[in-house]
Amino acid sequence: MPNSAGKRFKPTKYIPVSTAATLLVGSTTLFFVFTCPWLMKVISPAVPLYNGLVFLFVLANFSMATFMDPGIYPRADEDEDKDDDFRAPLYKNVEIKGIQVRMKWCATCHFYRPPRCSHCSVCDNCVEDFDHHCPWVNNCIGRRNYRYFFLFLLSLSVHMVGVFSFGLIFVLHHREKLGGLHTTVTMVVMCIAGLFFIPVMGLTGFHMVLVARGRTTNEQVTGKFRGGVNPFTKGCCGNVEYVLCSPLAPRYVLDPRKRPHVKIQPPFIRPDLSDQQITIKVSDNGMHSTITNSKSKSSIDGLDGKETQPPLPPKADRYNQLKGQLTSSEESSLSGKTHPSTPAMYRFKPSFGTMPKVHYHTAGEKIVMPDGRKNSAILEEGVRSDYRSEPNLDLPEYANAPLHRTFQSSPHQLDADPTNSRTLSLKQGHHRPEKGQLQVLPPQTVASTAYKGVFSPNTLSNRNGSLSYDSLLNPSISPASANECMAHRGMPSMGFHSPYLPTKMCHIRESEIHRQQVAQTYSPVMPPRGLGRQSPHLRDREPSPVRYDNLSQTIMASIQERKEKEEREKRQMLHGRSQTHIYVQDSGVFDAGYGPPANASFLDGPRGHGSRGPTPPAYGGSRDNLMGVGLANYGQRTPVLRHAGTTLGRAPRTSSTSLHTDHSSSNSSQGRAPSHEGSYRSPTHKPRSPAMPRSPSYSHQKLSYISAHDRTDSPRLGGQRETMKVNGQMDCHLSPSRHGNVKKVTGVGGTTYEISV
């Protein structure tokens, strides 16, 4: 068997098969020797012939069932599973004919078990269409040999019936010579046949029912489809036909055969780049992008990228790293896959220049930006489809896209905090209609125009670009706020959107914000953050888009205070961004706390720090509250979080702290349906009204949805929940209590959307 490290020769496992074989062959031989001659003479020569044929059939099927490979999956290579190993969720959902089926991660084989596949502990292999492990043949029964096993049972039953009947005839005719050798032997054979008659017939009948219903023993015994619908059934006739007449499936565990050698030599042909596709290849400083495959894990590992990861890296150690990655992933997913693995990148590669190659992720089908809202929706769509059933590719895509976008459009901050720049770029890229639809952004204001100009590729590397933009709008705007302003304004993808923007800027932006709310919401980081941040700030100056109806005066006051404080801090932090990020990452605290203010929260946000809601719900706010808020906010941010959540969710597969658990849960819940969420959010945000009214419903929905999923997920490592990826849907793992907290906090914190009711 493959990977039989440490496997010893265990004679005990051969006992049943030896017994079965001995009984079968021995009894039948005795029958032929002692009973058949008389039968041939008296009844007909056809009797032994018939029995002989049946016995041959039994033997053939017995041998096939015993020696045939049941459909063993070979272990996954290192490079295939390196991302999934400890970051991936334990379960992955896939939709089969409209029914959700769960695929479980196999820790031994390092892949997600395909539907109907199961891992046999006796053989230590994953087997396709696993039925059961049969001790009588000492082999697993799976896709390839189920037919032979079933035919073996059928033919054995027929054979036993035949042997018993003919033996009975013999004995009845030799009643007077019961003590004779022949008669005695025949009676012994009859006893054996009679003894095994009931079990064998019972098993045969059981399998006949299984075949008719299109189920495997494993599914029947574990009650998978009890009361439910079996997505694998083809109708009774179809099932029987499938079992008996389908072509013999191929072996997967093959001898290493020579691969046809294909010569690959650079330079390589590249496709023509259309206007939409602007490939910006970031020079990689030796960092081979594993972004494609690994969800920025490679980046964290210093990107040697490729397949040097140990199969099971110490999960605990990597949690922070993962988080970083997650954050970046989240961000990207939220912003329509523009998420750069900022946290991770930042952490391990503080310099921008070290960003790995990023493939431009053409909006293509994914991002169409007729307007902000649509973009979000479409982005979500794209995002969603990306990760649908694609565990490996989800994050990388996210990671790639965002990075790419970042480079593409981020006019500034390339030299600054990578995270920020990334975020910004994400947003920008996102909103920068790849199809040249800049008009997506509300073009009404000069700002937007300026914005566009600023974020043209020309300004890519120029942080000053933003400043110039700012100057266009409001010369008095400080650089920091200007940046933020710009970010907030046009770009939903703006990473951190300062809530402390000058009044004027905010004012101008407000309209845009509303418009872009959808898009913003799409980007995980942006929406809650931007709006959240903005709201309290704006409130000071003018009617905020966010409704603070339910906020108490004192709370609002404290929020304001805090915001101002953060703004100050933020300014300082702008340069010490890295620290912030690290802080965010390291702390693993999903403290939405404003921690290092917007930036920090922004970064954290994707990580599922919950919504970092721009304002901590309670200043004194306990972490729980914050988390609650975060969760609430998370709703908006779902896509990002989800993305991150996914990775975090993976943590469940590995040990994780309880803290992680919380976040992971929230993250996980976010699942991977950025698109889903985004779309969900879009309508919500459309109305400019604070998401509050909406978010509750949204949250509720998600909550219920999550709950449903949660309940079904029994294994929880460390209480973490696996990220359930429902096709295009997000499973929100918000706990009801948390949900309740979120409700209150969100509003207070100014989190725009997630305010739950």
Partner: protein, 144 residues
């Protein structure tokens, strides 16, 4: 320098990354791969070409798993000969797998290798994923 240059020519370019195209289980457990174009390949090849490749592969696998006259005959024959026929004859599925291997090799040579990509036959991974290896694009003539 000349030797170095030629040596570089002979070397296989380094693997930049790998993309895994997963199975599409929406229609059940039949062997079908997702045809969605992975984002990592966007800068390397055309979407249509990729989708065409995947679609052809899916069609080939569908043909391999088809329950039709040929598979019936094969089953009956195998039964009658006590499955000894498998010692001499190739099953229908195996024949199609050979066809698939040939097709993949063909695609690699014609389309993927010139673009620095390499398709791996999914049978090597248990028909779970199609692995696409992306090679580093080093311009040899870039004055290195």
């Amino acid at each position: 320098m000349a030797e170095t240059h030629s040596l570089q020519d002979l070397q296989q370019p380094a693997v930049s990354s790998k993309v895994f195209v997963q199975r599409d289980y929406s229609s059940g457990t039949i062997c079908k791969f997702q045809t969605k174009f992975p984002s990592e390949l966007e800068s390397r090849m055309d979407k249509q070409q990729f989708e065409e490749t995947m679609q052809t592969l899916n069609n080939l696998y569908a043909e391999a798993e088809k329950l039709g006259g040929k598979s019936y005959l094969e089953g009956c024959l195998a039964c009658l000969t006590a499955y000894t026929i498998f010692l001499c004859m190739e099953t229908h599925y195996e024949k199609v797998l050979k066809k698939i291997a040939k097709y993949i090799k063909d695609q690699n040579e014609k389309i993927y290798a010139p673009r620095g990509l390499l398709l791996t036959d999914p049978i090597e991974r248990g028909l779970r994923v199609v692995e696409i290896t992306i090679f580093e694009d080093r311009n040899i003539g870039s004055g290195r």
